[in-house]
Structures are given as structure tokens and as C-alpha cells.
């Protein structure tokens, strides 16, 4: 099969833009394999693996763009790629070359930074020193750098959200990955991106709204950082007249961070609700909840609004729904395979399953005995966070690019011990334009594979989103239900439904 490569020297484009072009080319007739990417070492390796490498790529570097096409219709594909790039170039004429040139004409107060990790602290420091608050999406910043930058921000009366901060909702605008939720009186501070998305969308679903939602980055409550940003954000929400209740979300905090947070909460009379998944003792000042769903419900109770009954089914409905599924399974089908794009939701799933006596393997398990040696292969009950470095090096996050997850869905279907495939589908700004559509196609393929071996497979999903999101919650749910996926209104309920099916009724406890 003919292969043609074009190299554009000095044409730097980010990975998401390139993925959009790449997808367009792949869809053309007569294209067998193609890639549009920057010639980084990692991408060169990838080109070799998929048979798109030619010797001329040797001399290309990380600022050079490579278009590689294999197939019978290469010239048309190459010109389509060039055309797409040209269109984007025109748009890009309004872009600024540097931060300082942008600030000469535009008085910004927030920098959203998503440069590669090795440059992130340099760019963040520049923004802070110019008086900007920072939302730092980039990951890979050493923890001592994080502490230094956060102290610098604090000294200047600024916020540094991040590094590795996925979500915030400021003045109603979703920054990074975030949902369109109504403005309201509940404030959120979260060290966990999808945790913030889940709580804010569940609040919206039950009729409540969000004043401000800040992200802190995943390490803010670690010993070394000590909750610097979370404490700052609590203070901001305490002083904000729109905010009537404050929700805190994180994995279990370190002792030092918890002390700092509790101290900060004691300065306000507003109710504070905390979901520190897996944590036990958080003191009397804070209303403690176990789950993200619980946090949304308690927050609405605290402000005296919203309708909790909008969330979900009664017990009988649950059980009959589960029965319809497990009656179709064969006795050897026992295991749950959770394939998550949201890390916090994956953590919540592990926590809930273990609480109900399930032994769970995962690539993010806090206990190394249950950590998967190979994240690409499941074992018994498995929960995978597909947003970890194993899966996102050199390619966009699974919330943007569903390819690896859809492949994994099909892969799990060939394991005869699998009973349930559990999924999250995350909507909102930043996310894929039609994630449920992509997942639904994979579900259909997986089912076909299982059926060929005379097996039924249960699919359970939760769609994290709102009606106002660009993808529209109802439409996305419909696409999944059309393929026979059981869609639950929260992650907690999706996990419980999966456990009911896998245990063939009765999960104990509740």
C-alpha cells in the first residue's frame, strides 16, 4: 500500500486540533491509515508502530508537523489535510504570539494554561508575576514547584488553580472540562475534576445552581502542599454574598491539609459539606458525606432548595431492572469491568464496590496489592481510569478522544467471565462532541462479539451532564438506551446497578 509523508517545518499545532484533522482524513475513502501530528520522539515511535514512518521524518523535530497517509487515495487526503490546516491558519491570525503582546491590548485577569508539562511552571510564573490568576491545566509539574507557585500566588492575592486542574466554573463559564449549569447559591472547591463535574451537574439536575466552582489541582491536599489553594477558595466563597453553602471535594486529605481547611471553615457560619471519598473523620465543623451524589443532596438541603426526588428510582424499580439483565447472563459471567474517563468517578466506584465486599483491581488502586501490573488488561473485577498517563501520553484525554476506550469495550467483550461493562460518559465544554454516539457504536460491536459466542452482556452507564450542555443530556442518554445500555442518573447509582447485576440481586447493606 503506498505511503506518502509531508513535513511542514515550524508549523506548531496542538494535539487536539491535529486530532480533529486526523479524524477527518481517516474518514476519507481509500485511506487505510493516517496521522497528523508533531514530530516529537513519542509520536515518531507511534508512527513506526503503525507503519507510517519514512526516513525523511528522522530530521523533523517537535516544532515540525507531519502528515502521513497510507492508502490508495493519498493525494486527495494530503490536500484535504493541507486545506484544513490553511483554514485554521486564517483563524489563527487574530492570535497573539506571546502573553505580553496579548496583555498590551487585553486586560485579562485569568490565564488558562495548557502548555506541555515541562514548560508549565515557567508560563504560570510569568502569568502570576503579571498579576493574573491562573488555571493550570498542564500536568507534570514537580510538587515543590507547585508549592513555590502557590505561595507566590498567595503573596500576590491571586489564585493558582492546578497544576493538573481539569475543571472550574467561574461566573457561569466552564473552564477546561466543565458543564453548563445554572447560576445559584452553592459554591464548590474541588481537588478532583470529574468530582466537580458530577456534583455540579447533579445539583443542576435537582433544580439547584452554582455560584462559583474552583479547582485546586489533585495534589493540593497532599502533605507537601497542605491545602493552600483550597483554603484560599473557602475564604473567597465565605466572603461571596451569592454563596450560601460550600461543598469541598477531594480524595482523603493529609492531616496538615485537613487542619488548615477545618481552621478556614471555622471562620464562616456558612454550612460546609465535604466529600473526601474514603476519608472517615473530618471533624464536627464539616458535614461529611460519602459520595458525590450525597454531596449534591446535602448541599441542596443546606440551602433549602432543589428536589431530591428527581434523582433516581425506588428500590423495587432498581431490582426489577437488574433482574431483567442478570437473568440473561450465564453462570460463569461474574465480573464488573468499569472503564472510566473520569478519575474521581473511578475512585468512587472502587470505594463503593469494596464497601460492598467486592475485591477490585485497578490501575489507580491506593493499595499496591490491588494495583494492576498491566493497565491494558483487566483481572476479575476491574475499574480502569483511562485518563492516567498510561493512556494519555501523546494523545488527548479520553473525554476528548474516545478511541482507546471504545477499543477496550470491545476487548472486554471477548472475556467470557465478564457480566457487566460499567461506563461514565462525560459531557460539557471541552469534551467530545458526541461521546455517547461513539460509545454506542462500540457497545453494538461488543454485543455482536459476545452474541457470536452465545453470551449476553450487560452495559451500565452514567451520563454526567446537563440539558444545557452542547451535547444535550437527553439526546446522549437516548443514544445509549437505543443500544440497550442501562443509564443511571448518578455514578453511585450506576455502580450499585452494576453490583446488583454482577451479584445477581442483593448487594447487602442497603
Amino acid at each position: 500500500m503506498p505511503l506518502k509523508v509531508k513535513i511542514l517545518k515550524g508549523e506548531f499545532r496542538d494535539s487536539v486540533v491535529l486530532m480533529r484533522i486526523s479524524n477527518r482524513i481517516k474518514a476519507l475513502d481509500g485511506v487505510e491509515e493516517s496521522a497528523v501530528l508533531m514530530a516529537t520522539d513519542l509520536n515518531k515511535q507511534y508512527l513506526k508502530e503503525v507503519g507510517l514512518y519514512t526516513p525523511e521524518i528522522d530530521a523533523a523535530g517537535p516544532n515540525d508537523l507531519v502528515i502521513a497517509v497510507k492508502g490508495v487515495n493519498i493525494d486527495e487526503a494530503l490536500s484535504a489535510a493541507m486545506e484544513a490546516l490553511a483554514g485554521m491558519r486564517e483563524e489563527a491570525e487574530a492570535y497573539y504570539p506571546t502573553l505580553s503582546s496579548a496583555l498590551e491590548e487585553f486586560k485579562a485577569n485569568l490565564a488558562v494554561i495548557s502548555v506541555p508539562g515541562e514548560y508549565a511552571s515557567m508560563v504560570a510564573e510569568e502569568a502570576l508575576s503579571r498579576g493574573l490568576n491562573v488555571f493550570l491545566f498542564s500536568s507534570g509539574v514537580p510538587v515543590e514547584e507547585e508549592v513555590r507557585l502557590k505561595r507566590l500566588a498567595q503573596e500576590r492575592g491571586l489564585l493558582l488553580m492546578g497544576p493538573d486542574c481539569g475543571t472550574a466554573i467561574l461566573d457561569g463559564y466552564a473552564i477546561g472540562f466543565g458543564n453548563k449549569v445554572p447560576r445559584g447559591d452553592i459554591g464548590i472547591v474541588s481537588a478532583a475534576g470529574t468530582g466537580l463535574q458530577e456534583v455540579s451537574t447533579l445539583i443542576a439536575l435537582m433544580g439547584g445552581g452554582i455560584s462559583q466552582a474552583y479547582g485546586t489541582g489533585g495534589r493540593d491536599l497532599h502533605e507537601e502542599v497542605g491545602g493552600i489553594t483550597m483554603a484560599q477558595c473557602i475564604k473567597l466563597l465565605a466572603e461571596d454574598p451569592q454563596t450560601k453553602a460550600i461543598v469541598l471535594i477531594s480524595k482523603p486529605p493529609s492531616k496538615a491539609a485537613l487542619e488548615k481547611i477545618v481552621k478556614e471553615t471555622q471562620r464562616t457560619s456558612k454550612p460546609v459539606i465535604a466529600c473526601f471519598i474514603g476519608a472517615k473523620n473530618v471533624g464536627d465543623r464539616i458535614i461529611y458525606v460519602e459520595t458525590l451524589e450525597g454531596a449534591a443532596i446535602k448541599a441542596l438541603e443546606a440551602v433549602g432548595s432543589g428536589r431530591v426526588e428527581l434523582l433516581g428510582l425506588n428500590r423495587e424499580e432498581y431490582e426489577s431492572l437488574a433482574r431483567l439483565e442478570y437473568e440473561k447472563l450465564s453462570p460463569g459471567q461474574r465480573y464488573i469491568r468499569g472503564l472510566y474517563s473520569g478519575g474521581t468517578l473511578a475512585h468512587e466506584a472502587i470505594y463503593l464496590m469494596e464497601k460492598h465486599g467486592f475485591k477490585v483491581y485497578s490501575n489507580i488502586h491506593p493499595d499496591t496489592d490491588y494495583r494492576l501490573d498491566n493497565p491494558w488488561e483487566s483481572k476479575e473485577h476491574t475499574i480502569i481510569d483511562m485518563g492516567t498517563e498510561d493512556f494519555v501520553l501523546g494523545r488527548p484525554h479520553p473525554m476528548i478522544d474516545p478511541t482507546l476506550r471504545t477499543r477496550r469495550i470491545v476487548q472486554e467483550a471477548s472475556d467470557s467471565s465478564v457480566a457487566v461493562i460499567l461506563l461514565d460518559v462525560i459531557l460539557g465544554y471541552g469534551a467530545h462532541p458526541d461521546p455517547a454516539g461513539e460509545i454506542a457504536r462500540a457497545v453494538a460491536e461488543a454485543r455482536k462479539k459476545a452474541e457470536a459466542e452465545k453470551r449476553y452482556l450487560a452495559f451500565v452507564a452514567h451520563v454526567c451532564g446537563t440539558q444545557q450542555d452542547p451535547q444535550n443530556l437527553d439526546e446522549q442518554v437516548r443514544k445509549l438506551e437505543k443500544e440497550g445500555v442501562i443509564v443511571m442518573p448518578s455514578n453511585v447509582q450506576a455502580v450499585k446497578m452494576s453490583m446488583l447485576i454482577a451479584r445477581k440481586g442483593g448487594i447487602g447493606g442497603e
Binding site: 492570535y95 497573539y96 504570539p97 496583555l103 491590548e105 485577569n109 495548557s114 506541555p116 508560563v123
Partner: protein
């Protein structure tokens, strides 16, 4: 923070998503300094840090 005015540095995707929401936002087309040459970047960083001391 005052009325939100955003400068996006890095992924163009986030700029488009903010624009789509009607946010006030501009984009900086960021490139790795020194053409991504790690040795030169490290050198620049050291010079800068020395200057700050």
C-alpha cells in the same frame, strides 16, 4: 476577581470552547521556547534565575 477576562495559552481547543460560551477570551499561540531545545531552555532558565537573585 472582577469581570472574567481570559487569556488562553496552549491548547486552541479551550479557546474555542470559551468563545463558544460567549466568554471574553483571547488566545496566545504558544510555542516551545528555543525551538524545544532542552539544553538551551535550561540555560535560559538558569540565566533568568541568576538575574532574579
Amino acid at each position: 476577581m472582577g469581570r472574567l477576562k481570559i487569556v488562553n495559552i496552549g491548547l486552541e481547543w479551550f479557546y474555542h470552547e470559551l468563545k463558544r460560551q460567549g466568554a471574553e477570551v483571547v488566545h496566545v499561540k504558544w510555542r516551545p521556547p528555543a525551538g524545544g531545545d532542552k539544553e538551551i531552555i535550561e540555560l535560559l532558565r538558569r540565566i533568568k534565575t541568576a538575574g532574579l537573585r
